[in-house]
Amino acid sequence: MSATEMTPARFLRSVIAIFLKDWRSELRTRYAISALLMFVVTTIAIILFSLGSEGASADALAGMLWVVIFFGAMSGLSRTFVMEEERGTTLTLQLIAPASAVFFGKLLFNLVLVLGLNIVTVLLYAGFITGFVIRNVPVFLVTILLGSFGFAAAATVIAAIIARANTRGTLYPVLSFPIMLPLLLTVINATRLASEGAFFQEAAGEFQILISYIVVVVVISYMLFEYIWKD
């Protein structure tokens, strides 16, 4: 084994190293903990106020949860690439790590970030918005898990694309929405099923779609990442 050979072990270590780099940076700045969480809290508060005493149908509430999650993702998941641009560290990263390691490392980071964010979102949402009832909790949990995976996958590759563009902030949701729409529709449907108390079998179809979506997006992102990343 030569010193420059990229073995699976080395690759995995690169991935973890990149993940840890972003993670530690995150802990230092605490952006996620402060700004992102405040964003989620604010959004849920706004929903609460707009609903007032009337409330909304269970279906509408199921959909709105994912609106909050979507915009939370839009706020937070582009940071991992944009911050490299802002700090001028992109070139360094391009040189010291293989493109695919960067991709998986940042994907892992976004995954952890969005999972954490979504858990908080769900807790706040379920806690404060009356009328949001989940009758089949396992289905709901699987939905959240798979949904977070899906968001992380799509958001990471789009983030890489817009990191070099001019109008990053507004461009991010514009590019992400069409790509994430299949994910959103499926996940809203699954949440609706969970809220109504459907059996696991009924939701299985949605889970299949979610899993194939995740696989497709991750694979295509992996294949295309080199083109996005390298100049």
């Binding site: 070099r164 563009a165 929405f177 069409p178 299949p182 529709l185 779609i209 979506y213 295309l224 083109y227």
Partner: protein, 232 residues
């Protein structure tokens, strides 16, 4: 040259036949179209609405194919073609959405209903919009071409999911949605008479030729522009 003449003849014929052929409850002659209860004359729009929708998809796929070529060969001409196809696709998509909304108003009462097919054409519109927003946000030509190509591939890969998702989510107004017999296509439901089918397919071919011609024109113009820039 022959293609252009053919296109002219065909599409003119389609317009005349599509609008001119009278409708009667019991068609006798070859130029009479059957009356579809509930739709009558408004059914004629199908000769124009479906081809525009069809073209916006064809253009999207064309754009994606050239995008792949660009990433593989890195030749600017492929990105020019990809962008030209997308531009046309965008235009036809807008037309398809508008004609679809008009049809929806006549047929089902309101301009928009979020039925699966309507939503799909809207998503296609969003994809085209996103594509051009991306292109306008990157200044360096090579980077712009690369990122645009990547995005069109990602969009093309994730859109087939709609085919599977949509029917699960809502019953559609469009023929061929949930609740309809399996395998029934959007148009076959119509049960078009033979002469209607001739007009329809001619329209489809004519519009495709139109697209092809406009596409080559755009590519030629872009080529000349690029030539001029680099010192022609």
């Amino acid at each position: 040259m022959a293609i252009k003449i053919l296109l002219g003849v065909l599409l003119t014929g389609v317009v005349i036949a599509g609008f001119g052929f009278p409708m009667s409850a019991a068609p006798q002659t070859w130029y009479e179209l059957p009356v579809i209860p509930g739709l009558e004359d408004k059914a004629r729009i199908i000769f124009f609405h479906v081809p525009t929708a069809w073209l916006s998809v064809v253009a999207f796929i064309t754009s994606m194919l050239y995008a792949i070529q660009y990433l593989r060969k890195r030749e600017a001409i492929d990105d020019i073609k990809s962008s030209a196809a997308a531009g046309l696709g965008f235009m036809f998509c807008i037309l398809a959405t508008l004609t679809g909304a008009v049809w929806a108003k006549f047929n089902w009462g309101s301009y928009w209903n979020w039925d699966p097919r309507e939503t799909s054409i809207f998503v296609l519109l969003l994809i085209y919009g996103a594509y051009f927003s991306l292109r306008s946000a990157v200044e360096v030509e090579e980077k712009r071409a690369t990122l645009a190509s990547v995005y069109s591939i990602i969009a093309a890969v994730t859109s087939p999911f709609f085919i599977f998702i949509m029917p699960r989510i809502m019953t559609g107004l469009h023929p061929g949605a949930k609740g309809d017999p399996e395998g029934a296509g959007p148009v076959i439901e119509f049960k078009m008479s033979p002469n209607m089918r001739v007009i329809f397919f001619t329209s489809l071919i004519a519009f495709t030729l139109l697209f092809y011609w406009m596409f080559t024109l755009r590519v030629r113009a872009a080529r000349l522009e690029a030539h001029h820039h680099s010192g022609g």
